[in-house]
Amino acid sequence: MKYIDEFRQHDLASKVAGAIAKEARPDRTYHLMEFCGGHTHAIFRYGVQDLMPANVHFVHGPGCPVCVLPVRRLDDAVELAERHGVILCTYGDMMRVPGTKQRSLIRAKADGADVRMIYSTQDALRIARENPDREVVFFAIGFETTTPPTAVALVQARRERLANFSVFCNHVLTPAAIQHILQSPEVRDMGTVRIDGFLGPSHVSSIIGSAPYEFFAEEFQKPVVIAGFEPLDVMQSTLMLIRQINEGRNEVENEYTRVVKREGNTKAQDLVSDTFELRSSFEWRGLGNVPYSALRIRAEYADLDAEKRFTLSDKASREVKSCECPAILRGVKKPTDCKLFGTVCTPDTPMGSCMVSSEGACAAYWTYGRFRTNTGGQGATEDIVA
């Protein structure tokens, strides 16, 4: 397959692996955070870790849109579907994420709520057109990549005067989250989490460009390499990061030049700023309240804002106590540090969000990396990455 196979070639991978082994100094370690779940997935699916020297470690970041959504917002979505009787349209992964008391949208659906899995915002608009007597809410989640399609849906709904359509907006922003991680006490003061550099987002950067990372590369003295999602992209970017670290540079470099430009997709950016504005604060699972890290729908589109159209009740939302998703999302713990991993929490019975999405660190460990623990899931404890 053109543009795919080229980036999955074994012989090239061996060459890059050789270059990494040569570049990585044996007297030190390299802790590289891949922000995106897409990278986590690629690392595990293709066995990239196997091709790395022992002193190169990947620290899994919070860039999985399903994983970072706080339980409260999920409970709100369940409430919209159950109490307000709307047709709730959602992307597939969101269906299985457990909310308070393990209540998920898939369970709400089984109990009679009208929850529909969709592939694009266009499906949600179609459902709204086909059901003029029902309220249709699109449960919008995701980083900068999924925001423009939601913006398109808002503009289109307005143009068509679709009175029964609204958006429950949960779109979040990548640079704010990375900055928050770098400012966290674990990284800054305590040194519990070592991050020597970042594999920067690929699809997100196709929208926002590489410029937004320039500030914190300089401010926090951490190199960033924008990396594509194919395994060779990940390896090449790793090599570029190790070179920067060795040379003491802290620059934003772009490995994913076939897609990402410095200024990004300005048309998409304009569309997003026409329809959304910054929230002063938004809760992330794992990171807590992060200032200016999410978007809400602009006042001009308030009539299409589900948060304004429906009154959502106060609720005592809570996660499973011993679930380590929050610490895993901050890079403080690994999935195998969690007591629940592989015992009560598996992809079939997820207790936390990181076990649901294929981009979640726990699901990736379980699905692709479990053999390293050689326990078959009977309480895996061995560190499988180091």
Partner: protein
Amino acid sequence: MNAIDPNLPEPDNAPEPHSAIDMTHGGGGRAMAELIRTVFHRHLANSHLAQGNDGAVLELPPGRVVMSTDGHVISPLFFPGGDIGSLAVHGTVNDVAMMGARPLYMSAGFILEEGFALTDLERIVQSMARAARDAGIAIVTGDTKVVEQGKGDGIFITTTGVGVIPDGVNVSGNLAREGNAIVVSGTIGDHGLAILSKRENLEFETEIQSDSAALHTLVAAMLEAVPTIGVLRDPTRGGLAATLNEIAQQSKVGMMLDEDAIPIKRDVAAGCELLGLDPLYVANEGKLIAICDAADADRLLQVMRTHPLGQDASIVGTVVEDRNAMVQMRTKFGGARVVDYLAGEQLPRIC
């Protein structure tokens, strides 16, 4: 459609012929008898059905008898390379064949939804008849029920098949042994992708056809060449990954696959890439997995490749010792990964 009978008292006010299933078709009265006669018996014609009894009396050759049943709820009903009718025949023929048996007879139960177009029903029954004839199997007994509109989705078909295992053949999911070769009969993922390409919210342009086919003649040829094949199974729902995991657990062994050796069509790989699917988990309806002694694998492969349904057969891996019964794979990229069961559902209602 019948021409208007000029002998009727009011020829221009003649009763309209039925164009859709209504509740009378399941009522046990004349309408139902008429439906059975004009659609089912007409197309599926054989001496057992012609007797009009509630069951069929079967003559079976000597040997162990296999019985297997399968329900079909696929959406859409008509897809590139087949329809729910041919699928209902192939699915059950294959389930019987995967036990090492020669399929002989089949039953068919229809659940029809009020309002279902009679032309569609006729098309489906014709397709079943054709598939059964091609497979050399008779549909000897059946049942029809009608449910109110909204209580079904057009048509559901349940088929049960009966076959006989030849002497000396012993096939079972728990017979995979360390060192055995794992053989796949052809490209994987064709059926699932063909179905997906016709889903209303996903439609995309592709030439991919479902691989829906009856595999019993391929199985017969394979067993003749290598009667000691331990495991035969068709990787339907959950794809190659789910089926290999089932076998690994039944046999309490591990498996090591070689990604490079797994046959997959370029279009299917591209479609999976586009939709974010892993082809290892995408359904097949005309492929099988065989596990046999490594020493017999090449001979088996030769025989398979001379059969039209096994031309792309390939040895995709080896059975290994593993107390955790894990299926693993060496990736094309050079790493290794687990190939686990699928959690949840990748694609609903594909068979």
